[in-house]
Structure formats: C-alpha cells, structure tokens
Subunit: 259 residues, 2 copies
DNA sequence: CGGGTGTTTGAATGGCGTCAAAGATTGTGG
DNA sequence: CCACAATCTTTGACGCCATTCAAACACCCG
C-alpha cells in the first residue's frame, strides 16, 4: 500500500484557513497572521512540550507533529486527556484554564512557535482584530467540546464505540488541516497510547481494531489509518445526528456574564 | 441516627466566604456582593435549569439544591458530566465555554438567582472589582479541574476508586459551603444517578457502596452520607498527594496570551 | 392501604484485563 | 548489507470485574 501523504509543514496559511472556517477575517487580520514570522522550536517525541508547573509559559502554536495532554496517576497509569494536532493552540486562552495545568508531552517530534506576541497584538487592539479574537476563542471552545465528547466516551461507551468514535474524531480533525489524502492519515499513536487515551488495555485495543479491520471499516498499518467506511464508524460510535456543532453564529461579546 | 444538617438558605454571605477563600476581596467588593438582592427562581427536581439551545441565557448562581450537567445519548443513556452545588455559578464565564452548551437539570429543587447584572458591574469596572473578577474566574477554573479529575476517574479507575473519589469530592465541596455537619452531608443523588455520573450500573454501585459501608469507610442512609474515614477513602481513591491544588497565587492578568 | 420509586440481593453472562509468548516492524551499529 | 536489539503488534488462555436480568425488599406519598 503506497500512499502519498501530505508532509507540508504547517504554515500560517493553514492557520488562516482554519480560522477563516470559523468566522470572517478581515484582510488586515489575514495579513497579520500571514506576516507573522517566528523561529520554531522542536520537541523530540516523548519529551515535555509544555510544563504545568511554570504558570508563565508563553502560548504556542503547534505547526507539526502530534502531542497530548496527559495525567499520570500514583500507580503509574497514564490517562491521555486530549490529543493536539498541528494548528492547535497551547495555553492561548483568554483566561486561565484548568486544562493548561496539565502536562503536555510530544507524541511524535513536535514543532511549535511562540505566539505570545501575536495574541498580545490581538488583545491590545480588540477593535482592529475583532474577528481574530473571536475565531481564536472558538478554537479553544472546540477543544473543550472534544474534551466533553471524550468524557462521554469514557463514561458510557464500550470499547468498540470508543475506538470508532475516537478514530473518526482524529480523521475529521486531520481532514480540516489537510492531513488526509485518499481517506488516509498518519496517526503516530501506538496501540498502547490509544489504550491510555480510551481507558482500555493494549490487548483489547488490538482486538477491537482487528474487528474494525475485518469489518471493512478501517485499515491500519504502519501508523497509517485509512477510513474505509466513515458512515459505518459513525453508526457504531453512536454519534448524535447533529455531529457537526454549529458555531454559535452570534457570539455576543457584549451581553450577559462577564463576556 | 438523628443528625442536624444545616438548612440555611445559601446567601450572598456564603458566596463571599467562598470567594474570599480564593483570593483577597476589598471591602468595596464585599459590599457589592452583600447588597446584591435579587428575587430567586425555583426549578423543580428533574426540570431543566439551563437550556443549552438558548445561547442568550443569563448567568446564574445556585443558592440551594443540587443540579447537574448531563448529556443524553442516542441510546437513551445518560452521562452526568458535573454536579453543581449551592454557590456554584452557571454560565458565568468570561468567555464562551463548551460546558455551558450542555443541558443543566435540577436534581433536587433548585433555587437560582440571576447574576448577570452583578457580573456586568464587575466587568465594567475592572479596576474597582479586580479581586472579584479574579476569584470568580477561579471558581470556573476549579469546575474545569473537577471535570478533568472526573475524566481520569472514568478513564482509569475501577468502580471502587471512582466511588470513593467521587464521594470524597462531594464531601469536600459540601464542607466548603458549610453543608457538612458531624461528617455528614445530604446527597440527593440516587444510586442510579451515581451510576450515570460514574459510568457504572445501578447494581454495581450498590454493591460497591455496601463494601464501603462494611469496610467502615462511609455510612449512607436516606440520602445522607457520613464520611467515617476520609483518609481511608483518599487512599482507596488513589488521590495524588497534593490533592489540594494550590491556587495560582500569581495569576498574571497582563502577560501572555489574550489574558 | 396501594403504587411508585429507590435499594438490595442472587445468578448467569460477557466484556475486558492480565499474563505470557510468539511474530512483525523499526532502528542501530558493525 | 546484515545482525541485533528494542519496540510494537498480535494471539491464546484464563480470570475477574462489571453488566444484565430478575425478583424481592424498603421507603415515601397521596
């Protein structure tokens, strides 16, 4: 199976595309992103990308590689809380978030750039970069939503549904950032990591994945996942009909609450 | 077993005490809270407190009764994501949160007051109510942290650990708001709800609870929980040593990110 | 008193974890 | 290029934790 997978490094262009899909961006905002240059830093697979001890860490953008937020328990067990892909923000939230107090570890080699200055520019000129502020906050809104989805998986789905739903989520996220080609995407997660994310043992992950393979729903070899039957997976995963959450088209920044 | 349990309606005094424990409040801020009067609205047990469809819902404060955030799946299964107690805020976050897109249902009869105006006052006078803004945001920070704790429970703990940890969390939260007397607190959760929160069947919840009873760790009758051995529960629940998260003593509101 | 709801208990089934060991794959150094 | 180690995947056997089904038992309320 020879598959050409996009290896293009994540550029600001992709972030622009991603944000533009969430809300309107002015030319001025696009050019701010477009001209944003920053030298990137690479974290090797397995190393810590973002420590939770240092509250002062500067917000970052992942431009290549996968990372995860994970919590390690006293008995040595790991629970992956969230998977981070290229185009995802780290610690770039408007206000303090608990999720940012969790350690972030690189799954594959991860390249990040510092976007503290970018976010600062947005914050200091709220009128000028209104659309940007909006779409950026939607980005973290979506991560929180994924967290809740995952919580539901862990709490009330059997292994097969968990895996089907999880793979589908990764598939859709990869597609959004252009990392899917011919229904396939690179997934640098070992089955052990899948187990750590889904609360399952390696052995059982393997068995269920095999079932999905023989069922003709997916193909999985050498770290490459091919989604053969997305609709079938969605049915197995018991996804609600309106899976695509509608972005609140009117996110009112001036009424109610502090917002 | 006759136990006197505090039935005092949650007043602004209690919110003040709760916030003051999270950070310094000026006299000016205390008086703002103290003088805040609002007629309360009651939601009967089982009814919806806060719909997620209406994005415009005004933020509220629970002053009595228990509620929960829950998600209902296609197969009819329920997953309780979070338990809300008196003194907890609903929808009062600085910016849009995914958790606020989840339905909130009253567990017992719930009284709430509208605090949109209060939050607005805080927001419109950031300098004046700096400490208040800080502590209020800590409140939602802690809820998010509880969410992550719960996720870890669901993902990587067996039934007994889940139940022990969950009861302990409720115990500590009740104690903070003064709802614990002689180690006991009223818990209006049926065992079925406990199961829905913890991803367990009613039957198994019952069996594990009985084990905790015969083990002399808790007592549970008629909706009243008595924690007999908090340390033992903590050990069972495999809680990390530094269970009491230290409030970030220096939450810098002027550097990094948008914050 | 009766019905509804919640709790408790038993027995049987099965999903999933653990243990163990054999392939398959990747990477490294000679 | 091959050999070797290390990591990951795969498979079988076994046992336990937890679910399901079923039915009795307690409790509350009108």
């Amino acid at each position: 199976m020879q598959i050409e997978l996009p290896k293009a490094p994540f550029s600001m262009e992709l972030l622009i595309r991603r944000l533009a899909a969430l809300g309107p961006l002015s030319d001025h905002e696009r050019s701010l992103l477009h001209n944003w240059q920053q030298h990137s830093k690479t974290h090797m697979a397995g190393s810590e990308v973002f420590g939770f001890k240092d509250q002062r860490q500067r917000p970052k953008l992942i431009i290549s590689g996968w990372a995860c937020r994970e919590r390690i328990m006293a008995n040595g067990r790991r629970q992956l809380l969230s998977i981070l892909l290229p185009g995802d923000l780290i610690g770039g939230c408007v206000n303090q978030r608990a999720i940012d107090l969790v350690e972030i570890v690189a799954i594959s080699n991860v390249r990040v750039i510092d976007i503290a200055g970018l976010l600062r520019a947005v914050k200091d000129n709220p009128d000028e970069y209104n659309g940007l502020a909006h779409t950026l906050s939607l980005l973290s809104l979506y991560e929180e939503r994924r967290l809740l989805d995952h919580m539901v998986r862990l709490g009330s789905q059997p292994a097969m549904q968990r895996i089907a739903g999880f793979l589908l989520e990764l598939f859709q996220r990869c597609r959004v950032i252009g990392y899917v080609s011919a229904g396939s995407f690179v997934m640098p997660l070992t089955q052990e990591m899948l187990g750590n994310a889904l609360g399952l043992s390696v052995v059982h992950v393997n068995r269920v994945v095999r079932q999905l393979k023989v069922g003709g729903l997916i193909d999985l070899h050498g770290g490459i996942v091919k989604i053969l039957d997305a609709a079938g997976l969605a049915e197995i995963a018991d996804l609600p009909s309106n899976e695509t959450i509608s972005a609140p088209d009117k996110c009112d920044w001036s009424t109610g609450a502090l917002s």
